[in-house]
């Protein structure tokens, strides 16, 4: 029972991170029907930018304003990078065949990954301990302040995103553009601006995810975007790619699945089982758990 509760806490923590990152994939896919392969590398870049902002710009001393500053500056930097990727790698190919855009996405991924390596080197860097290591033990389950913060902030961001997309005028325009871009243009929606908006939102959430990865795992490498990007991508597919609540659900489920495999089987097998899960889901339910929403006639 202890193992179960402990892995539940751990699973929800890493699941929150996967979910935040998965949202970036799913929102872009929803409107552009394109997998933004550079997204994982933006996430990795976020951890390095956070490290730089903390140690070079804000003095390297931990305090609440500094931590908030690290988050805000990193989010701004990474969303600008996401904006730039859209401008340079995707917008010129808007009317090109889908395959060209996919190749361009892979290219953007490599450029960012190698950019990180040039700036910070190929060796692993240690992310600063921005959150004091406070640990509680509740009925045999160890839970840290950092885990609580990761889960709380992720939940807040996801609830906020959900209401933004469901209840605001821009959110409705985002959903309309995902359904039918031409019809959206007829309504007077500037679809290019909508695409910029989702890149800014997706990159910002990815930036927070990247900082969480740095805080939680501490060791960061220039090529880790591929690994975490892949988990998040799998999470988006499990939930149903293009579906925003699906990405949230898929992230949490993947996190729990990995944690339980690590707890009950072996952590070295966690990845193998993760991809077996992906294959099973693709066979049983190719559109993911929530799938693309379809209006059924009643």
């Amino acid at each position: 029972m202890d193992t179960f509760l402990q892995q539940l806490v751990n699973g929800l923590t890493i699941g929150s991170m996967f979910a935040l990152i998965a949202l970036g994939y799913t929102m872009v896919y929803g409107v552009m029907k394109l997998i933004n392969f550079a997204h994982g590398d933006l996430v990795a870049g976020s951890a390095f930018v956070g490290l730089f902002v903390f140690s070079q710009l804000l003095g390297g001393e931990v305090s609440l304003p500094v931590v908030i500053g690290v988050f805000l500056l990193t989010i701004v930097a990474i969303s600008l990078l996401g904006f730039t990727v859209e401008r340079l790698a995707y917008r010129p190919l808007r009317t090109a065949p889908r395959l060209s855009a996919v190749v361009s996405a892979l290219g953007a991924s490599m450029v960012i990954q190698n950019g990180i390596m040039l700036l910070w080197g190929p060796q692993m860097q240690i992310f600063p301990e921005l959150i004091p290591s406070v640990i509680w033990e509740v009925g045999g389950v160890v839970i840290s302040l950092m885990q609580v913060l990761i889960m709380a902030l992720s939940t807040l961001l996801m609830v906020g995103l959900y209401f933004f997309v469901e209840k605001t005028k821009i959110g409705t325009a985002i959903r309309a553009s995902a359904i039918d871009q031409d019809a959206a243009r007829l309504m007077g929606i500037n679809v290019n601006n909508i695409i910029v908006t989702i890149f800014l939102i997706g990159s910002s959430l990815g930036a927070v995810g990247g900082l969480f990865i740095g805080l939680y795992y501490r060791g960061i490498t220039f090529n880790m975007g591929w690994q975490y990007g892949l988990y998040a991508f799998v999470a988006a597919i499990i939930g149903g790619i293009g579906n925003i609540p699906g990405a949230m659900l898929g992230g949490l489920l993947l996190g729990l699945f990995k944690a339980f495999i690590a707890g009950y089987v072996s952590s070295t097998w966690a990845d193998a089982f993760t991809f077996i899960l992906l294959i099973v889901i693709l066979i049983v339910r190719p559109t993911g758990i929530l799938g693309e929403r379809v209006a059924e006639k009643v």
Partner: protein
């Protein structure tokens, strides 16, 4: 009769191609303020392409499309609706997984907020939409979706309404109902450009018409002239010589 000063909308020598295939081969037409004008033609004649070219969803290869003082071909698609042109597209293209209400509010996207009076007017024209306002648009019947597409295009309070095949795939009884409401909409001063395959229904409604065949206008005139033309009768109204 209206004079040429009242021309609201004018297409001159429009050519549109898909790649190397010419779809519209130099057409000219005009619509005067307050008129209902119809473009008739069979499948593939270029009717929908003409409508998409007006809304800038497809860019013209050459020619001009003028509306009031604006040259539309120089504008991006999302700028068109705020000029007062609203397009109800072929196949309805309602946002299927949004509610009826959300679809209508998107029709007023360029406005600061949804105008309650216009919404009431749309609901009065199509009471079915009010009954189903919280339903997803994709769950409506074809006829109801067409009502929604027209209602949505009215939400921006257009001066010129582009209707692309409102009768397509709809039960005959609903076609009649929808055409009655189009007449009511036009009576409020909205100018209508109506594309139709259903020539009989369209000519009953319209003041004038153009006949499009493989990208060219082959005939134009008042509805009476078109209805009495032997060629039109044979090709589009199903009468034998």
């Amino acid at each position: 009769m209206t004079t040429s000063d009242d021309v609201l909308f004018k297409i001159s020598d429009l050519e549109v191609s898909y790649g190397s295939i010419a779809a519209i081969k130099g057409i000219s037409l005009e619509v005067k303020k307050g008129e209902i004008v119809t473009i008739l033609g069979s499948n593939g004649a270029g009717k929908t392409t003409t409508m998409r070219a007006i809304s800038q969803l497809i860019k013209a290869k050459s020619g001009s499309i003028r509306y009031k003082d604006h040259e539309l071909t120089k504008l991006p698609a999302h700028k068109i609706v705020s000029l007062g042109i609203s397009h109800s597209p072929e196949g309805r293209r309602v946002f299927n997984i949004l509610t009826v209400e959300e679809n209508l509010s998107l029709g007023a996207y360029t406005k600061n907020k949804v105008d309650k009076d216009i919404l009431k007017w749309v609901y009065d024209l199509f009471p079915r939409l009010e009954e189903r306002k919280l339903q997803l648009a994709g769950t409506l019947s074809g006829g109801e979706q067409q009502m929604l597409a027209i209602g949505r295009s009215l939400m921006s309070k257009p001066d010129l309404l582009l209707l692309d095949e409102p009768s397509l795939g709809i039960a005959p009884i609903l076609v009649k109902a929808i055409f009655t409401q189009i007449k009511k909409i036009a009576a409020t001063g909205v100018t209508v450009l109506l594309v139709e395959q259903n020539a009989r229904a369209a000519l009953k409604l319209a003041n004038r018409g153009y006949v499009l065949e493989v990208g060219k206008i082959v005939f134009s005139g008042t509805s009476e002239e078109l209805l009495s033309s032997a060629r039109i009768q044979e090709a589009y109204l199903g009468k034998k010589k």
